[in-house]
Subunit: 280 residues, 6 copies
């Protein structure tokens, strides 16, 4: 799900951005033949993600570098665990260090947060999913990290799911004509989701044949009623200010019986996991 | 400092990523001639950043869209403030919405955090700066946001400052030969920074003529001694686990008399500012 | 559905390919100030498609060219009809002529063929759709032309629909585990289609909850039975050697009651519509 | 004549277009370690073309795939012939299948049609050539396929031959001044071709020293006269509505004694050759 | 002959290279609203070339800049002449200054040198032409400058002229089979040139029907004999160590009666013309 | 200091430019299996530079080519010396020949000239540096060649040094406020250089704390005074019409005691070193 053609472009862009026209420090102080060894070490607990990409950074930088993965994407690691061992040209390793860590730390940060949400809804039938609130240019990595952490993906972009919102409804003259227009003009291969704010709208969306219905910022009580109305007829997605704790916790929402809970913060507000490359 | 040639590439890449092969929902439910109006509204307090870029997203999407900036980059806004007004083709505005918000929210999030650090060191002679721990491909935006929030920038990439670290020192045979090699081989236009872990090393770096000396994870007490030794001879940079609060607060560090405090979290762990595009 | 950011890249690539390092004939024989006028004329009956793109070719070539569209995409035109009028710099128009016609003729050729299929299934509940058998790099144009001609689109690429075929079934250990794996791992936003070769397999796919079932090269009689079994439970897609005439005509297949008929020839074997740019 | 730097760009673009952000079906249902074997089989008679490119698609996709070519470009194959054998990672092979077939089928379709034209003019001194009526972005492949089928190429783009047409003649004030202008301003390395509609024009073009003269839509009788006038002084090219059969058959035209017969349909209206990848 | 699609790419690349991530000096010291005026002034005599490109640099940088061309490409200018006037945003003008001058000075330097060669052969029937010894990526500009200075172009690249050299002759088994192979396999639209070192080879090349024959480093006397043998049958090109003065001066060579004299130094060893942007 | 990611892009662009859509001569006359051997030979004395890049050209063209470097970058070579030996596919070698030589000859030409300047200032404390007067797109190569020849680099682009010139001073209201603005707004990692035309300005720049001061076109006598005033407080750079010989010779300027002498001609007016690939 992480096509290397696309990943390679991201990595090359990142290396060019960071190298500028050359690593002046390394090239002036380190002999070209010098070798180095190091370990990628977790400095806090979390879910590792991006270790294959980390490896690929160094392959692109210098194919003679040896990179041994010790912890695969998705594994839970403890402070002090070695994620990977690296050895080879000191120049090449130092030049790729920052880019590899930037990617690994962000992706592991996302996976770690996703894992907490996945655990929060365990035992319910709901799945927590991401949104399109990702970093421009890195959506493919962000969504992979969400998956690695145990959550699921929502649509990837504007062309792989019909998601009829407020403005579409207004412009089309209602939920029914909006769904009808989409079904008639668009590929049968696409699902249709409708965003609703009331149970009235929910009923109309069901009647119109929506495959998925998004309950926008609905109180928990209303969600429960929605589940009664829609269960088995359409997937229900809860959306809006979901958190790990508090009134609108993922767990409380999951217990209403909805199928999907979308959480923007998974990707728009990420805490990088603390990982370092320690030379030995 | 935000060259539009570069920014345009980022925006186009982001739009292509989000549009996929077309916005199926909008094109099937909204007539091409439909118009729409909306306001970008702050849903929490913060420092706005990226509003020009937001405007540029829509210019690239559709040059007939009208976008009026109400709050310039760097302004402090309150919950409910209107940052910009937009009107024009409903299709074009809806297609650019997510990309514009993703950029605006991240950049404002960075600026808001930076602003807190800038306030924390007010009254001291220290400045808080960013690092290279940025999002691959977006460094130019991340660093601009740091500046907008009132902090400053460290080097942009590996080619515009010599920063001699542990491994360079080892490979070169010491701080003195490392600095000497860099000075002899590299452009006179570059400053030379040396990372040190002890006062012994600090003295050697001063002796070697370093322009900047990074005090890596030094206790506050040792930093104060370092200031005594180096003040006026080189810029001193404190680095390592700096936070807003606690033992290693930016304020406490600033009060030791160091010149520069670098904070990776400014860009590696960003909380997006809550901003929405509300249609009217 | 035809995002101009993408279309512009295709057009620029086509112009660069055709211009090489310059149009030696035009630049050496025609004064830079010479003007010219011409009409795009249909030389046979058909459905026009690509006229907006044609206009865009000349906008990119030279924004001062005047291009007036007389027949919009989707209109049926007769031999001799004027599709568009063009006037402006002789140099610029001659340089864009071939590229504009190459795109217009292919797209109109596809739309014209699609229109015949659309008419063939009129009165039934089936829709004819395209496949991924398109020209590398031009899928967005090919699929738009199919739509313009009155047919519909199948999935755009490998990431917007699950389509479980023979090899996937074998590798997963059967239809049921394959569908289960896809549903568990993938986004709820994706539909799942299963390709079947027998009614046995059809039943298993229905049981597994497939949204769409592809009947691969089934005899008409078997298709009718499939319709009895599946109607209302899943969409049925007929596939394999469909033509306008003969045993496996789109019409005959449509009359079995299937929902979708996919036709690869719509895009893999295209007859360009004969259109010329006549100068006046 | 098929430079791999250019071909690689086309292939990568095609793979990116088809993969989108990942092959959801294959990655969710097939284990990463699963292997597969298959044969590319001709399902109708024709001239194979593009088999090297087919191989390159899989090399780019996954360098560990084994691809054995059984029939080289240019070979005539019968229904049932194996063109190539493939084995390796099931995931990688399935992901590259559609792109490889799309290219192979189109190129073989062109070569097969070209071969019929080549046979039609056998025994005469004429050669059938292609035109610039190719698919945007794929001209290099289209022209290679024409050559593979036994026909020849006309100019590749607007910069490698001077071709003076109607509009150039009018703007320059006649054939003579047009040819003179081209000769004076342009490289001596370029040939000059003039398009004529009458024998009067032909004489003027000869007098002006044209290297090649295009007889635009001339009746066969007039062509014969043209041959009498021009043979040995300039190459004569017949153009306009050439077909395999009928009044303006390539054979009949070739028998007039012209040197070159250009056929747009070779590339603007292509029937893909039926080839499939059958797994064993 | 200078297609803007290509030129724009070169200019954007040059601006990105020179701006890095921003012009730190200009953005920090000059207010965004400051305006400036200046003149591009020749500081030595020469032929101006690239002034349109210079204008385009600033259009791309900032479309509100006013740029008035005073001396068109090809004009001979004296020390002190104003080539163009510029006014507008100080920031934008200063950011584009270096790139515009780098291109203008190189192109004018080439045109000025070319002009000297053109004058040297005036009165003869020979033309001086360039070679493929150009700067990687800028061939289109280099060749345009040669033309602007009054010389002519040789082939643009390896695909628009057959040029059979030593190695091709050896591999093909002689001049005759090499020419035959090229004529049979390649487009009739291409001329065939053969490089020869002796009069024997010249005769064989003539016999084989070469369109152009390159006399590689031949003494003047032998060139005169070659002219006797070949005049009217093929174009003769003199090549090898041609200079403005001395034994192998362009003038002396031209007087032998050859048609073409190719001079690599026109583009491989360029003296930039001294031009400055003086602010007023 | 010559990052291969960037170099590869330059090489690929150069090969595409030179190959066009294919080397028609080579592909039509030389069998695909033919092999060839040759030597890169210096035809004049000089400093070799670019031999690694030369090697890389052929690696990109065809990884099976054998390329043995005999003289490393920076070595002084005599007429007749073999710089490298090459053997492998005749087709591939002939296709890469021109591009490899174009790069090698230019870079060696720059290094050879730089070497003369380096020798001229030997025994003084001055270093000769390049400028931003480089070829668009090739700055990284030009600057590497300057270094290889024994000179040094000035800033790479507009973002890695603050260089306050005339216009910046005027707009900021003087040297003092300009330096102050730059120091306050910009990164502490950047040095600040000020261009001055008088000793008055020099004193102000010193007072303002400039790190480097450029003496613009100052007479030698004034430079000596400048050295008296500034030595030890700031680096002094002499600029303007520096040559190897004459009144403003590098040597004479170096003897004034300045630290840096910048020479635009090193890169804006390059004589290619004569090197050829001789086949054996």
């Amino acid at each position: 799900m992480l096509e290397m053609l696309t990943v390679d472009k991201i990595i090359k862009g990142a290396l060019e951005e960071d190298l500028g026209w050359g690593d002046v420090t390394t090239d002036s102080t380190i002999p070209s033949e010098a070798a180095i060894k190091g370990n990628f070490i977790a400095k806090e607990q979390g879910i590792v993600c991006g270790i294959e990409i980390c490896k690929r950074v160094f392959e692109i930088m210098d194919s003679s570098i040896d990179f041994e993965i010790m912890m695969a994407d998705g594994q839970k690691v403890q402070k002090g665990d070695i994620l990977a061992k690296i050895s080879g040209s000191a120049r090449s390793i130092l030049k790729g260090e920052r880019v590899s860590l930037n990617m690994l730390q962000r992706m592991s940060g996302i996976a770690t947060a996703a894992n907490k949400y996945a655990e929060a809804v365990q035992g319910t039938t709901a799945r927590v999913v991401d949104t399109r609130k990702t970093i421009p240019g890195l959506r493919i990595l962000d969504k992979y990290a969400v998956l690695t952490g145990g959550c699921h993906n929502h649509r990837f972009n504007l062309s792989d799911l019909v998601l009829i919102k407020d403005n579409h409804i207004k412009a089309a003259g209602g939920i029914t004509p909006a769904v009808k227009a989409a079904r008639e003009k668009l590929s049968h291969a696409l699902k249709i989701e409708v965003e609703v704010e009331s149970l009235e709208q929910l009923k109309e969306a069901l009647q119109a044949g929506a495959d998925i219905i998004m309950l926008d910022n609905m109180p928990l009580e209303m969600m429960r009623e929605a589940v009664q109305l829609a269960k088995g007829k359409a997937l229900l997605e809860a959306s809006g200010n979901v958190a790990l704790e508090g009134d609108r916790s993922a767990k409380a929402i999951a217990q209403t019986g909805v199928d999907i809970i979308s959480v923007g913060a998974l990707t728009h507000s990420v805490s990088a996991m603390d990982i370092s490359l320690r030379f030995i």
